[in-house]
Amino acid sequence: MAEQVKENTVTLTIDGVEVAVPQGTLVVDAAKIAGQDIPVFCYHPKMEPVGMCRMCLVDIGYPVKDRNTGEAVLNEDGTPKIQFGRTLVTGCTQVVSEGMVVVGYSEKVQQARKDVLEFFLTSHPLDCPICDKGGECPLQNLTLAYGPGESRFNYDEKKKNLKHVPLGDLIFLDRERCIHCARCTRFQEEIVDDPVIGFYNRGRSLEITTWSEPGFDSYWSGNTTDICPVGALTTADFRFGARPWEMLEVASICRECPVGCNLTLNTRREAKSGGKMVVKRVMPRQNEQVNELWICDKGRFGYHYASADDRLTTPLIRKEGEFIPASWDEALSLAAEKMQAAGSRLVSVAGGQLSNEDYFHIGQLTEHLGGKAVLYSNMMGGDLTTKVGMGPGSNLADLGAGDAILVVASDLEEEAPLYWLRVKQAAERGATLIVANPRATKTDRYAAHIIRYEYGQEAAAILALSLDRIGDSDLADESFKQAAKAFAEAENAVVFFGSEGTGMAQSDALSKACANLLIATGHTGRPNNGLVGVWDKGNVQGGWDMGLQPSATLFDDLKAAKAAYVVGADLAGDNPAYKQALAQAEFVVVQELHHTATMELADVVLPAQSFMEREGTLTSGERRVQRYYPAVPPAGESKADFAITAEIAAMAGKELESVSAGLVFLGIVGKFKDYADLDYQALAEVSEQWPIIGREDLYYGGTGYANHQGLGVLLGTAAGRGEPVLIDGFDLPDTGVDGLLAVPVTRLYDQGNNLRYAAVMFPRIASSYVSLNPADAAGLGESVVVELNGFQVEVALKLDENVPQGIVVVPRSFGLPISAPTPVVVKN
């Protein structure tokens, strides 16, 4: 062992097991590495230790040194003499030191654990049979391991508290069960910086309470239920849903945003669904390179759309204005016939949440028929991320002092919560965070440099950040100069570009400007350097990688289409303009999960499987390809998207793989250079991660699941392969508007189809609104009429000082027809 010891490691003995750990490691973490149990309640490996619960008490001894010589004193048998302390110490606050001896299995320590537990149980209701945590509860497990069989305290003197306190719409608090470990409050404060819950009162009356209105107003609240070491915090969604041991676990990937958080779907048969397997809850799955141990509440509670009651279960054909159920053969041959006849006037529109396999097939079929395949997204630059994206070996967790992160045109927490968290953590480790956005966002709190530009000028602002151009720009003030310097001098630099106030033209210019900046400053082709698209939908990057692109002329394309093939995109529901365009298309084939506004316009409807019912791969904004697995049987006769496309293709004279997603992926591997050498096995590989979670010891990391099903693979980039990278020239978009300018922004909780079925989230989703600066709102009431793109919509008016004057902030997917900055009239 001794020769392996490096300079910065420390060797110690924990319960007879010798272990070498990095300097500065805490004793409880060292025990985890050694595979020894030191139980904890308040300590969590992702948070600072506080030593509140006293569960981790251990006996610690240090080698005795001779005061004069400094040499270790030896026992008679030649072993070092160890001097133990007079009292037990908390292992979670104690840093390891050379030669330390930690004893957890002595009678003294065992008695201490017993006593601590007995004390916790004096006011714990022990209602494990009805507790949602029962079965995966650290307190329950440790009580079984160490607890006294009988309490010496009088049952009637137990503290009776409120048992069913809604902390918000999503989380319930049971005050009797709470052991005051402060994990939840520290998580909200330290990790996600939403200190909306806290302690109230003192001593035995101490209780968790929420300060915000609405209660527990945070996108991260569900995570507190994972790390709560007792059943004090439970979710409203899963309440009494099933016992933990009754459910199966299936690995999946979230597609609500481009982060690609790793999920575990817990499934069980359900009586009210007629005995079918259903997903009972969604839990985070550890991937320290993507989502660590956390997921946002949209990912956790928004999954209900995939099992909604109005799922399409059979193909439908419109006959005399009515949808008539049809056989697959009928529907497919009609669709194939019309699509084949359309030839170059076929427009295929692929939504932003399909899998790579689906995109690949849609592209192949459309190419075969000579049509145009369109990726339904309002962002551009997916080709640039393949050139100058973050390459293999990157991990946002590696960014720290000396590195820079630029977040431009993005309200990052609303657009991709986990990116926000990772960027925030990088900033806390010392990375220089530059935030360029027209209005203030939560990301500003960690920014070293804040750059404000006007809506529409995002590309110009990024150009001005290039050191060589900074003199030319009339935008560049002192904040630009400092930021430009910091960015250019950073060792590693990453740019996140979002869609705050951008349409396709703005996004195109912005992405190119960002790529230029990275190339100009030499931040390409190396790990932890490059461009990350904060895409408007979960798998937009995958769509780009499969050769699909958004179309600026989609509206006209659809109007002129002889056949439109719309897959997983609710065009008509998003924007009434598309509704008119689709109505003019001669023949519309819609492939969907459920009834949507677009599906109402279809001539043939093909029922598709949801992500829970099939397998496939997704590519995240960082270009990590990740694999998800089938969890529940398909609804009705529905088929996987790629299989439907393959069957249409077969009827139109093109052979495509229609059964195995893995084989489709091999086709992708053969065609696209970035995907070469990949296969489903490679995507399922895992390696050891820190912190170690998911063993029997739920007390340590919480109830999140360990990753056994794949960490995914980061794709290579053109710059990383040393290929020359050229960025096309671009025009700066025209920004001049008389009067008010409406700009689209993204809200995490929108009124899109994904959240339409998540009843538990409804109270958290705002009704349709627009935001204005108070200075622009003179004479306007609480409800206004917005004239936008020829449509009039009545919405609520919110006043927000952060909105620049002359701007109307319009959230996307709230029923307002907006996809780019547009002149607008707001009136009473």
């Binding site: 009805i130 029962g134 048992k163 009754e246 009586a271």
Partner: protein, 170 residues
Amino acid sequence: MSIYNPLPILKGLWTTIKSVVEKPVTLQYPEQKRVMPQRFKGRHHLRRYDNGLEKCIGCALCAAACPADAIFVEASENTDEVRYSPGERYASTYEINMMRCIYCGYCEDACPTEAIQLGHDYEMAYTEKRNSIYTREILLDPPPEGQESTPRKVEPGVFNRSIPVMKDAE
């Protein structure tokens, strides 16, 4: 052997005659039914409290303990408007597959509220497989004399404990 030996036939006849006068061991089932010993383990009952509320809290520990995987439980939440059991939680689905059940009584042992008990009923023949599933409606005892059945509407705030306090048997 000229003399016929009557002994064997008399011996047999004696047994016959004895049986004629003896109390018969057969029962005229189904007109007559056997009284079961106190500890006989027959069909399960879901018990109620004296006030008529259900004892079952839907914890599914019976299902966890069941070696034959015969029990399926789903829980739901009580409200004061629609109350089944005194605590927060009740069994909205409770099914026992009698074809799987081996009448071992582990469910009874596991139950924290003494809600499920194996009773004396053994008449469970069925002609359709589907009927081997005993639902909570079949398993639940009727409410005690004079008590309302469940669900019922109750005064708010009276039943605020997750598991009602249970007194040890005297």
